[in-house]
Symmetry: C2
Subunit: 223 residues, 2 copies
DNA sequence: ATATATTTTTAGATTAGACTAAAAATATAT
DNA sequence: ATATATTTTTAGTCTAATCTAAAAATATAT
């Protein structure tokens, strides 16, 4: 396993995200866009990574991660997400402040550090944005992100996004104690209007209309 | 305040250590040695840093930190030492394992991160090696590192080094519960042979000869 | 099907940081 | 004081990662 530069690691990570896990072919322009650089630079890097056996690249067709490249990408994603958990849970960052810092921390090289950090955090399986954290072998469990309108009674969800940023909606959510990162249990769905009763944060019971439910995205947690 | 490269930061830090805080002139070869590179490279960097106004450099004489360069060096040292405290206290690293990792972590750019880390760690004033941690303004209080033979009754010290690595000595220290990083209180000095009674780790009382005391280096802690 | 537009690749230049080898300055020894 | 050794600097080369501009390949539209 070769030592990669900061930049090479970032390209592999971008390829992972753009190809949703190494499946699809990624074209030069999307890679360049995603890396905020020129097509020429992205093309150079595709050649380099292909040369190193980390990605497959056919001229004018596009690139895709090979197994070693995918593995490296997943290890970087694991580090990124573990650090995000640390920043939010231990250092009290808000979840919208942590991405840039984690972008730097994800490149720290020390398997033992990550092992001990994982331990310290209690082996979390999802990050503060509700995205799954790959385990030490690079295995990442599927995570369902759905709106509460699509949820089932009995589901427990982590609120990860509000799809409409209407300020009245945000204010209302605030007033009933629903915020990004909080956990909700779906208790009952009224058949007539599809409104929901929720347990918010494990205790308070709140009611929301179907419209609000449609705008609340959650990651379904194991119960 | 300009954005410096990883390498430039490391050179500034090396200059700080070699000149013990920016006082003495550092010559090209010692800098090159310390950075594990050639005199030519060190010379290139001295020119660059001088150009940026961070160090003073006269041909064939040597270099020294100017106030801005010293400030940057101290901020990096602060980060390095805070991360070392984190690694030892929170992630249970041994103090001899943390240097390399802290060398990487010290380059993470985020003042807010360091502020929150400092908070999380309870504003420590010394690192696991007994070296002082500069505050947010770059002020670093003097730390006395002395042998226990030079200590006074009533002193509390953090054991930071054993000057003789004789294995019988190390074994004996181990058997009486004295290890690197432990805290000792000097209780009494016998006038006749200058042997000492110590409270180790806050409770157990132990006796050591003058010879052993001479070999135990401590950082004196505020009491 | 051919012209036009888009995408991708190549070619050549640039910058930071490093290197080697040689030249210049300074220090040391007889 | 002169020769020798050491240290420092310069000159020129190299690599990774970037860029611009132009060429080549592919896709789209009439």
């Amino acid at each position: 396993m070769q030592q990669l530069s900061y930049t090479e690691e970032n390209y592999l990570k971008a390829l992972y995200h753009l190809s949703q896990g190494g499946e699809d072919l990624v074209n030069t322009n999307s890679l360049a866009d995603s890396m905020d650089t020129t097509a020429a630079s992205a093309n150079d890097m595709m050649k380099r990574l292909s040369q190193k056996g980390l990605i497959g690249h056919q001229k004018y067709k596009g690139a895709s991660l090979l197994s070693e490249g995918k593995n490296i990408a997943l290890r970087i994603i694991r580090k990124h997400r573990l650090w995000e958990v640390f920043l939010v849970q231990k250092l009290n960052f808000r979840w919208d402040e942590v991405h840039e810092i984690a972008e730097q921390l994800e490149h720290i090289q020390s398997p033992l550090l990550i092992q001990k950090l994982d331990e310290f955090l209690g082996h979390p399986s999802i990050d503060p944005h509700g995205d799954p954290i790959p385990d030490e072998h690079g295995t990442m469990k599927e995570v369902r992100k759905i709106s509460l309108a699509e949820s089932n009674v009995g589901d427990r969800g982590l609120v990860v996004a509000v799809s409409d940023d209407n300020s009245e909606l945000l204010q209302h959510l605030d007033s009933i104690g629903i915020e990004l990162g909080c956990v909700v249990d779906v208790q009952e769905r009224v058949a007539f209007d599809h409104s929901l009763s929720l347990k918010v944060g494990g205790d308070q019971v709140r009611f929301i209309s179907k419209t609000i439910a449609e705008n609340l995205l959650v990651t379904i947690l194991d119960t």
